[in-house]
């Protein structure tokens, strides 16, 4: 190995790290930038296609929300579930709320919550998913912080909770998909409106979900390596930081998927 002394006066003349980060971390940042481009192209496409269809008129949604309240009372009166199953989608198709020519309001598509059958609860479940992912991002960054102090047990503890958060999010995603699929949605058919809606939903949340899955796998690798003392022997916990960057990026993408699919 060369031992010549190189002047540090010029940042870009070699012999040092111009960005003051390790090679691996710099490459992770560049990968994340390219991955951000991929997700952006999907969301830009979603935005353009979504607004090439007219929105569901707000009066229709408000009218329906009143009738949901009555349906809940009807459900408890005769034991029938007026919101789910055979009643809901055909009735709204007949009323012209769900049609091929207008974009369905996410209010009326993703309005379920576990253990609350028949209740109209738009946005609540997906807000819970957002909370889970933000929390798992916090536990990740606490793990990184423990690594910076060289606290091996701290890293183990926080990585464990990060993995739990990742699985919780994936479980929620699976539940959301199951509801949508059992209603009759496929990548080429959508009982709620234009098939493009379902195609884009499966494409974008699927692509994001696969990123979450990969992130959980990487987190488990880090968790096991840390228990085995790999980073303690190496003298630094930078691998936790690099995988942490990926995990935060997945959280960041979810912020925008949430914005585009559920709010806009």
């Amino acid at each position: 190995m060369s031992t010549q002394t190189i002047s540090k006066s010029n940042t870009w003349k070699g012999g040092n790290s111009p960005f003051n980060v390790s090679y691996g971390k710099l490459m992770m940042w560049i990968f994340l930038l390219s991955d951000a481009f991929t997700f952006s192209s999907l969301l830009i496409g979603y935005g353009a296609i979504r607004y090439s269809f007219p929105s569901t008129p707000i009066e229709q949604i408000e009218e329906l929300e009143l009738s949901f309240a009555e349906n809940v009372q009807a459900k408890f009166a005769n034991g029938a579930d007026a919101h789910h199953g055979e009643f809901f989608i055909p009735a709204l198709r007949d009323a012209g709320v769900f049609s091929e020519s207008q974009w369905p309001s996410p209010d009326l598509v993703f309005n379920h919550f576990p253990f609350a059958h028949g209740l109209h609860l738009p946005l609540i479940f997906v807000s819970l998913m957002t909370l889970i992912l933000i929390l798992s991002s916090v536990t990740m960054v606490l793990g990184v912080e423990a690594g910076q102090r060289g606290d091996k047990n701290g890293v183990t503890k926080w990585m464990f909770w990060t993995i739990v958060g990742g699985f919780a999010f994936l479980g929620c995603q699976a539940w959301e998909w199951t509801n949508f699929i059992t209603a009759g949605a496929t990548p080429w058919a959508n009982p709620y409106g234009p098939p493009t809606f379902a195609a884009l939903f499966f494409l974008v949340t699927g692509f994001h979900g696969f990123h979450v899955f990969s992130g959980v796998v990487l987190n488990i690798v880090i968790f096991i390596n840390n228990i085995n003392g790999t980073y303690e022997r190496r003298g630094h916990y930078e691998m936790v930081e690099k995988v942490g960057l990926y995990w935060h990026f997945v959280d960041l993408v979810w912020v925008f998927v949430f914005t585009f699919f559920y709010l806009i």
């Binding site: 060369s2 390790s22 951000a36 960057l245």
Partner: protein, 117 residues
């Protein structure tokens, strides 16, 4: 797995070896992390409030995207440690994203006119 060469100092600035060199790690504490968690939670609540209290419009969409950008600033800045990195690295990663945000809003607006020429 090969054992690391004990003769190489991984933090050595003078004998810089890009295959092993890492900057010295130092913590910024956990207080800031929890503060940013509560801010992110609050911003999500504001999102939901806007959804239920404001009628759908392009102005509301721009509010949602702006809130998303604010959340992104906290996630990238604090959680991804970007505010403690060199300005050159932050610029390289963040500058392209400004064009993306512009393109997002632009194409959403443009979609309104598809098929209506």
């Amino acid at each position: 797995m090969s054992t690391p060469n004990q003769n190489i100092d991984i933090h050595d600035e003078e004998n810089y070896d890009p295959t092993v060199w890492v900057p010295k790690a130092h913590t910024h504490g956990t207080k800031d992390i929890w503060l940013k968690f509560w801010i992110l939670l609050g911003l999500t609540v504001i999102d939901v409030a806007f959804y239920f209290l404001m009628a759908p419009s392009m102005a509301r969409n721009i509010i949602f995207i702006a809130l998303g950008v604010v959340k992104a600033v906290y996630i990238v800045g604090t959680f991804m440690h970007m505010k403690h990195e060199k300005l050159s690295l932050a610029t390289m990663i963040i500058l392209p994203m400004f064009f993306i945000i512009f393109f997002l809003v632009w194409m959403m607006y443009e979609g309104n006119f598809w098929g209506t020429f």
